[in-house]
């Protein structure tokens, strides 16, 4: 079965690449858009560090690492599962889910595999550049364990992103349009670009345990930087990240499946 799915995924994706090649300018502009937004965030930090030495004890390079690290899972999620947004905004109310229900395949798989969002490459690219740049400035040590944990953390982070998006998008089955909710949750991720300690306790609690974006970026990043955070310091942080990713994954997938059972087609 896995073979069948992966073969289908390849076919669908290669179709999609043809579409991108047709409109190279659009692709480049989208890429540039995301790239520029992030770069300006860095220029902002650069201008700040012209005036101060350390921000709450963090150096410029350390903050760049967190910032870049936050972009990678975000970008991967954006690249692979962008269609979930359409479930939230349009497909439930327009009845487009119908056509997926007619095919003998996993519905979520069909929705996700139908689209790659190439603009996201801008985010992934900038994330990698920033992480590489800060590591070359010596903020973290490259060991085999660290490299493995790095990739594990990025995978878990991506799952957390996708799960949060899927959870709020699934609300659309009940409320018809849940786009604003997804936007709301998604925007919370911006808080995780900086160390959680700069916020008040309650905001810190929300982004650590309620909508756990701190686990996507700041908490694992601070482990790699060798800085103690509110959960202490140690590789177990990546473990907790995985536990959260799995729990959220299960909850949101079930939510989606439950939503499908209450889904009613639109119109004729």
């Amino acid at each position: 079965m896995i073979k069948r799915y992966s073969r289908l995924y390849k076919v669908l994706i290669s179709q999609f690449f043809k579409v991108i090649m047709q409109s190279k300018v659009d692709f480049l502009m989208g890429l540039l858009g995301f790239f520029l937004t992030q770069i300006l965030g860095i220029v902002f930090l650069y201008l700040i560090f012209d005036k101060i030495e350390l921000l709450n004890g963090w150096s410029f390079e350390q903050l760049i690492f967190i910032y870049g690290f936050a972009q990678i899972p975000r970008g991967i999620d954006h690249l692979l599962t962008d269609n979930i947004w359409l479930v939230a905004w349009r497909w439930v109310i327009s009845g487009d889910i119908d056509r997926y229900m007619l095919r003998p395949m996993n519905i979520l798989f069909q929705i996700i595999s139908e689209k790659l969002q190439p603009d996201a490459l801008g985010e992934i690219l900038i994330g990698c550049i920033l992480v590489a740049k800060s590591i070359s400035a010596g903020v973290s040590h490259i060991t085999i364990t660290n490299v493995i944990l790095f990739f594990l953390s990025i995978i878990a982070g991506t799952i957390i992103y996708t799960s949060i998006k899927l959870f709020f998008a699934s609300l659309a089955f009940w409320v018809k349009i849940s786009g604003p909710f997804v936007q709301f949750a998604y925007q919370m991720a911006d808080f995780a670009k900086y160390p959680t300690e700069i916020y008040t306790k309650s905001i810190g609690f929300i982004i650590t345990w309620v909508i756990p974006f701190a686990f996507v970026a700041y908490l694992p990043a601070s482990y790699f930087l060798g800085v103690e955070n509110s959960l202490g310091i140690g590789a177990y942080i990546i473990g907790v990240e995985w536990i959260i990713a799995i729990i959220l994954g299960i909850i949101s997938y079930n939510m989606f499946q439950k939503g499908l059972t209450v889904y009613e087609s639109a119109g004729n």
Binding site: V25, L36, L55, P180
Partner: protein
């Protein structure tokens, strides 16, 4: 004058009604848009907490709080993206209908933008603004902003609004050449948030770069009214920044006119 008002007022009123229709999502977006202001707030608090200096970039910590939230207030009434409407009209082809009607397309767009502006001013902006003034007096222990500053700020904001929409109209003309304007919009938003001082006060930039900004219209969009509100401009400097805004309004008006004439000459609409 009266006739013009009669023609374009419905555009503004319609937009106002349209906005009112989607209240729930509007309020949610309002909270979302305040997120980034709160992130900046906490970030700046941490920044001021990390230095012994009383002022950074010419602003004290309290002034920075006012700066952050007045940027929010100003942005919500100034940055109304009419280029998205242009792109919608072009993609749908309804721009053709606008061409055969005896109305000025740009004026109709600006009227719609005024409708949006009034709504955004009434609902989020004024509440955030009042909240800010209350916070200022009770928590920060400062005086209420002087009435003359408020009047000058409002005057300057209206010009900022005109500068923004006139600029955005020129920008929206790109829609006639490409159908995918989303990427361009992102680039525009990113650049404006930076060059207009939404992200960081322009006084944080090195001197040389600030001189360059003086020759661009962006600083007149957000930075100027907010600094006027803070009372950072006095006497001849104040007159200078206000008249610079007037000049930009005139220049962008003429530029938009020229581009519009060029574009409509080569416009091909299929069908209809």
């Amino acid at each position: 004058m009266n006739k013009t008002l009669k023609i374009y007022k419905p555009f503004a009123m319609n937009e106002l009604k349209r906005q009112m229709a989607y209240k729930a999502s509007f309020y949610l977006f309002l909270v979302i848009s305040l997120f980034s202001s709160f992130i900046s707030y906490f970030l700046w608090m941490a920044i001021y907490g990390s230095t012994d200096a009383n002022t950074l970039g010419g602003l004290s910590q309290n002034e920075m709080v006012i700066y952050i939230f007045m940027v929010y207030v100003t942005s919500s009434i100034v940055t109304i993206s009419i280029s998205e409407w242009v792109s919608e009209d072009v993609v749908k082809g309804s721009v053709a209908m606008n061409l055969i009607k005896p109305i000025d397309y740009r004026m109709s767009l600006i009227s719609r933008a005024i409708g949006t502006m009034i709504y955004q001013f009434m609902v989020p902006s004024i509440l955030v603004w009042i909240g800010l003034e209350v916070y200022k007096v009770t928590v920060l222990g400062m005086d209420l902003t002087h009435l003359s500053n408020i009047i000058l700020y409002l005057l300057s904001s209206v010009m900022s609004f005109l500068i923004f929409v006139l600029f955005d109209f020129c920008f929206g003309m790109i829609a006639f050449f490409t159908t995918y304007i989303f990427g361009m919009l992102m680039v525009k938003d990113a650049l404006i948030s930076f060059l207009a001082g939404q992200l960081i006060p322009l006084s944080f930039f090195p001197e040389g770069i600030q001189r360059i900004f003086d020759f661009l219209p962006f600083s007149s969009m957000i930075y100027t009214p907010v600094m006027i509100y803070l009372g950072k401009y006095q006497g001849s400097e104040l007159i200078f920044v206000l008249s610079r805004q007037v000049v930009w309004v005139i220049l962008l008006y003429i530029l938009g006119d020229l581009i519009w004439r060029k574009v409509t000459k080569r416009l091909v609409v299929l069908g209809g």
